[in-house]
Amino acid sequence: MRFLYKTDFMDDIRLFKHEGAVFWYAVLAGSVLGAPLILDQFLLGELSFVYIWAIAGLAIMLLVGFTGQISLGHAAFVGIGAYAHAYMLRHGIPFLFSLPLAGFVAALAGVLIGIPALRLHGLYLAIATLAFGTIVEQVFAGWESVTGGFRGFAVNPPVLFGVPMDTETRFYFICLLFLAIAIFGCLNLLRAPVGRAWIAIRDSEIAAQSMGVNLAYYKTLAFAVSAYLAGIAGALFAHKIGFLAPDTFTPILSVQLLMLVVVGGLGTVHGAVFGAIFIVFLPTAISFLRESLPPSIGQQPTLEPALYGLILVLFLLFEPKGIYGYWLKVRFFFAQFPLYKRATFRRRRAYSRTERLR
């Protein structure tokens, strides 16, 4: 059991709370850097997928988990980033410029939806973003000169300083690099005044406002930053799947992203990564599971969405803090070993305030 004595105001915003954390994160960094030496190409490809999903997960985590704004339209931002990136690459803009620019295009779209969203709360916001996502999806299908319509188009592997990043290993490192930058950026934002303002807005808009938080500014900023990250994830995603078609960016993707943050653990940066692991490896796990199930169930093509739905519902009902919350419990169990009490993590009865009165 470790006791943290805070003797300095900086203790509250340190990235690593104690030396143990430094050690374990160093081990983690070493193992993800060394992974290409051990893993085969398939697993490496899956891991790059995890990193891309984790960037997208961070995007939606900032908005949903930290600012408390629901978005059912994040697939649109991922899609805008992907198409913008691919479009700029086709017109000869190098990868290193095109990627951040694609993020900016997505961020612009984020501001565009963020400004009307200022007047909306909860449910209405969810529906407005859903509408936005659907419109953007239709635009992808209709704007053939840029997006190629339903036929879609192929995306080449990225070229960095004249070197094509066409092997799984090289692309793995690109994804890892961007995920690391994204996580570091998010952590820094969250311990800065911006992040505190976001969290204040999540917990109570009225309280935040009366403490001098400019709601309009910080909410729009949250939408912009979130869309930016989603756009970057989309651009990497375009390279990863190598082909863009509008039916990739449907509301189903938005729901999957939300599922990612719920299952991973709402309101934690760890949660985005855990959720990404869950989203990427569940289909693999299911395909292993299929073989051991009786054929009447195992051969069902809809087994996957059914399990997604079931797991989502079970998490919401029994472990609302997600995988990360469960990990905290396990760690606490061992830290406290013979003295663990279940009551420590008992859910307090929550009474949500009505949203009809604002």
Binding site: R119, A131, T134, Q138, L266, A306, L310, L316, L357
Partner: protein, 289 residues
């Protein structure tokens, strides 16, 4: 002129379906502030139950209609008892995700049980009258009449029966309702039953037009637009919003590109949300601090 009449009729009929599904959303939302994103899938379930009863077990249309309504009412009550009741009081986000997950499960379970193929619904309304150059499909008439009969019944039930008034009380103030001795939890279960039954009616009425397959629940998204357009707390608003969206869609598809058909309801929805966030019929309430 005939074109306009024809399109209006088609639009109103489509809109009535959206209105019916939206009605289901609004009922549950008014009573418990839970938004049921699985409403479209409940509609699909209702249509499937009716089709299976008719084609496989030889029920006639009327009996299948009634049985499907009761089956769905039962499913609605079960959903409330087993799942939704546990999550009331959690943040809205959790509730939205929960019903999304439930919808996903219902859809997948239906696909597992009945397969992905599209089915047709045999109906007694499969004929068309020609009135003054306008083709009046009896299916559409059945949709419109069914919608208005159901709404009338619901109005009478909520206005004049003991249970109905108790439900109204719950939707106005749950705490106060509990204080005067209304069994609030039971009322919420009943509302879920009624809402699922409404979805079944919508599903069975629309089945001859849209055909029955496991993805027909996606109509639910358009119905959402309808519910929001009308202001999420108003039954009349849901119906009017639905009809408005139906008419827009039909006219949009004829006079603009086909892509417009899919965008129009959402563009309208965004506009309404920006200009009048509480919907066309929503009441404005402000919290005093």
């Amino acid at each position: 002129m005939n074109d306009v009449l024809q399109l209006t009729l088609n639009g109103v009929a489509t809109g009535c379906i959206y209105g019916l599904v939206a009605l289901g959303f609004v009922l549950v939302y008014k009573a418990s502030e839970v938004v049921n994103f699985a409403q479209g899938d409940l509609m699909m379930l209702g249509a499937f139950v009716a089709v299976i009863l008719i084609t496989k077990y030889g029920f006639n249309y009327g009996t299948a209609f009634v049985v499907a309504i009761f089956v769905l009412a039962f499913v609605g009550v079960l959903l409330d008892l087993i799942v939704v009741r546990r999550i009331i009081g959690q943040p809205h986000f959790a509730v939205i995700m929960l019903t999304l997950g439930l919808g996903l499960m219902i859809r997948s379970a239906a696909a597992m049980a009945w397969g992905p193929e599209t089915r047709t619904m045999p109906t007694p309304f499969a004929w068309t009258a020609k009135l003054d150059g306008v083709f009046v499909s009896m299916t559409y008439i059945s949709i419109i009449v069914g919608t208005f009969v159901l709404c009338g019944l619901l109005y009478i039930a909520f206005r004049f029966t003991r249970v109905g008034v108790a439900i109204q009380a719950c939707s106005q103030n749950q705490l106060a309702a509990a204080y005067v001795g209304i069994p609030v939890k039971l009322m919420l279960s009943i509302v879920w039953g009624v809402s699922a039954a409404t979805a079944a009616v919508a599903g069975i009425l629309v089945a001859p037009v849209s055909l029955v397959d496991v993805n027909m629940g996606s109509i639910g998204l358009h119905a959402f637009a309808a519910a929001v357009l009308g202001g999420f707390g108003s039954i009349l608003g849901a119906l009017v919003g639905g009809i408005l969206i139906g008419i827009m869609e039909v006219f949009g598809a004829v006079y603009f590109q086909d892509a417009f058909r899919n965008i129009a309801p959402y563009a309208l929805l965004l506009m309404v949300l920006v200009l009048r966030p509480q919907g066309l019929f929503g009441a404005v309430a402000r919290k005093k601090v």
